[in-house]
């Protein structure tokens, strides 16, 4: 066990060092925007994870390379730690404004910023950011200091690709350990034989696409600060906004339609992006997941459009198309940008329940594995659907028949098919179980009669799918403390596809004598 502690401690130290580096980079924002009062808080926020990470790394630097078990615990504990320590800028800047910083001019406190003086709210925001969820504890993002607007965006941008991917890319270490960690962060496909080269290429693609997204949004009419923030969170399928009513604030058809391909880009796997940039455009339709990104989004949007136009709140076909298409893509890519809010039209939480459930289904399935999107992932849904069809058809064949299951141009024999089917089924069952348990918990803790079952199911699916769309439940005052803690857990397990978190919890309970 000591060996395991050393391996996990060493890699956790690296992750914390990387987090400290991210906070240090963010010092540029308060300097450029003249928010000098935020500097001491940001420096302290960076030094804490840097110091802990440095101590852990120095103490255990000779530890063995991680195996699959260690990889899962590093992933689970790493994401949890990043959520905790990433909350420091929220917490300390909010307290800096509350108490005033000697020698600096501090702005007046706002109710929105004051919410972050509660540590739980700050941790919620940080976890929501890093997991790419986008549910928020802010009432009005516009009044936040630019430093915190940036930090929210930056957490989602980094979290979209992955904290471990970042750590591997920057603090690379040769050997098999990096591959194990890479795979533990819900990724499997490599772009190059070398894992360090793979993660660097992922970042290369992600950064290039970020520039494209920012410029496209700016050309569509968004101010540059909004374009930078929304380009980053849109591509990362995170969904944090810097405006009070998310994308609805702009009330622009052009911006809505420019964001749709940006969100879609984020929900396509990085290896496919790489092949497309290499000139292999066939991957748009030859790759099963990418084909289904378009097919599934198209079908879902069409169904939602029909619900919203023929039996729903919108009077013109175009209005139903504009809001239906955007909200389904936003949900299914797990971005969580909202255009359907009360200020401009009909809020999502007041859509007919069947329309809300259509969006919930989109959040449940999510985007492609290996992308920035959440949910159970398209490949799992397809494996499950094909596997069920395979199992049912089995009855009609003689026992001696040799059958193969074809998934994504791979022909699987009975054993392989059974293994992949079982893995997909386990994830879906676990995902559904936690969704139901979370829904029960929220129904018990929310004021009775205030929210419908569709509202609650929607919100829990949004947290667990790392989506961030809200039916109006999440907020510093509207969500009870138990609900906030439950959502922290949902966001965490959703980002890591549940298993690593369960492995870590089992290890902790077993070590503590609770579980035998």
């Amino acid at each position: 066990m000591n060996g395991a502690v050393a391996t996990v401690g060493r890699d956790l130290g690296r992750i914390l060092e990387a987090l400290g580096g991210l906070i240090l980079i963010s010092l540029v924002v308060p300097i450029v925007w003249g928010e000098y009062f935020a500097l001491p808080a940001l420096v302290v926020s960076a030094l804490v994870p840097l110091a802990i990470g440095w101590v852990l790394y120095r103490r255990f630097q000779d530890a063995e390379a991680p195996g699959r078990f260690h990889g899962m615990i590093v992933a689970a504990s790493g994401w949890f730690s990043v959520g905790i320590f990433g909350s420091l800028p929220f917490l300390l800047i909010a307290w800096s404004v509350q108490l005033g910083v000697p020698g600096f001019t501090t702005p007046a406190q706002t109710a929105t910023l004051a919410a972050f003086t509660e540590p739980l709210n700050a941790v919620f925001e940080s976890m929501s950011g890093f997991t790419g969820t986008g549910l928020t504890m802010t009432d009005n993002e516009e009044v936040l200091p630019r430093t915190l607007q940036w930090w929210r965006t930056f957490t989602e941008w980094v979290g979209g690709v992955g904290v471990i991917v970042l750590t591997t890319a920057i603090l690379s270490r040769p050997g098999s350990g990096s591959l194990t960690l890479y795979e533990s962060e819900a990724r499997s496909k490599k772009i190059h034989p070398s894992i360090v080269s793979t993660v660097r290429t992922i970042w290369w693609i992600f950064i290039l696409f970020t520039f494209i997204s920012i410029l496209a949004l700016w050309l569509a009419g968004m101010p540059i600060w909004g374009a930078i923030n929304h380009g980053m969170t849109g591509l990362a399928t995170g969904g944090f906004s810097i405006t009070d009513n998310s994308i609805a604030t702009y009330d622009s058809v052009a911006i809505d339609f420019v964001l749709i391909p940006i969100m879609l880009l984020g929900s396509i796997a990085f290896p496919v992006h790489y092949l497309i940039l290499q000139g292999d455009l066939r991957n748009f339709y030859s790759d099963l997941q990418t084909r289904w990104v378009f097919g599934y989004m198209g079908i879902g949007s069409a169904v939602l459009w029909a619900f919203l136009y023929f039996a729903g709140p919108y009077e013109t076909p175009f209005a139903a198309l504009r809001y239906g298409l955007f909200q389904f893509v936003s949900a299914a890519t797990c971005t969580g940008f909202q255009t359907a809010v009360d200020a401009t039209n009909v809020a999502l939480g007041r859509w007919p329940s069947y329309a809300q459930l259509t969006v919930t289904f989109g959040m449940f399935v999510g985007g492609a594995a290996g992308s920035t999107a959440g949910g159970i992932k398209l490949i799992r849904g397809l494996t499950l659907a094909k596997g069920i069809r395979h199992q049912i058809a089995d009855v009609f064949y003689p026992e001696s028949a040799v059958r193969r299951l074809e998934i994504n141009n791979r022909r699987l024999n009975e054993d392989e098919a059974s293994r992949e089917f079982m893995e997909a089924a386990i994830i879906v069952v676990l995902w559904s179980t936690f969704l139901v348990v979370g829904t029960f918990l929220l129904l018990l803790t929310l004021p009775s009669g205030e929210y419908s079952l569709a509202n609650v199911l929607f919100e829990v699916a949004s947290a667990q799918g790392n989506v961030g769309l809200s039916s109006g439940i999440t907020g510093p005052d509207s969500l009870p403390t138990i609900g906030k803690i439950a959502f922290l857990f949902h966001m965490w397990i959703g980002r890591l596809e549940i298993i690593p978190v369960l492995v870590m919890l089992r290890t902790i309970f077993k070590h503590g004598g609770v579980y035998r």
């Binding site: 290369w204 693609i205 290039l208 520039f211 494209i212 410029l215 540059i224 290499q278 455009l281």
Partner: protein, 65 residues
């Protein structure tokens, strides 16, 4: 610089776009919205899309040629 050239799509045009991206955004931040900055942004996106499509159809063109 060497890290940029070593990673990515192994293509100098895409590497160039990646390197000038921050400069284009910086230009927009400094100069604001104007005909010049809009033209630069359009050129950047057009270069990316055009070159991606060109790389996609180039093998077909050379095969037919």
């Amino acid at each position: 610089m060497s890290a940029v050239f070593e990673a990515g799509a192994d293509d100098r045009i895409f590497d160039f776009l990646l390197l000038v991206g921050p400069l284009v955004i910086g230009l927009i931040v400094v100069l604001g919205r104007s005909l010049v900055t809009e033209a630069v942004a359009i050129a950047y996106i057009a270069a990316f899309l055009g070159y991606t499509l060109y790389r996609g159809v180039r093998p077909k063109l050379s095969n037919t040629g």
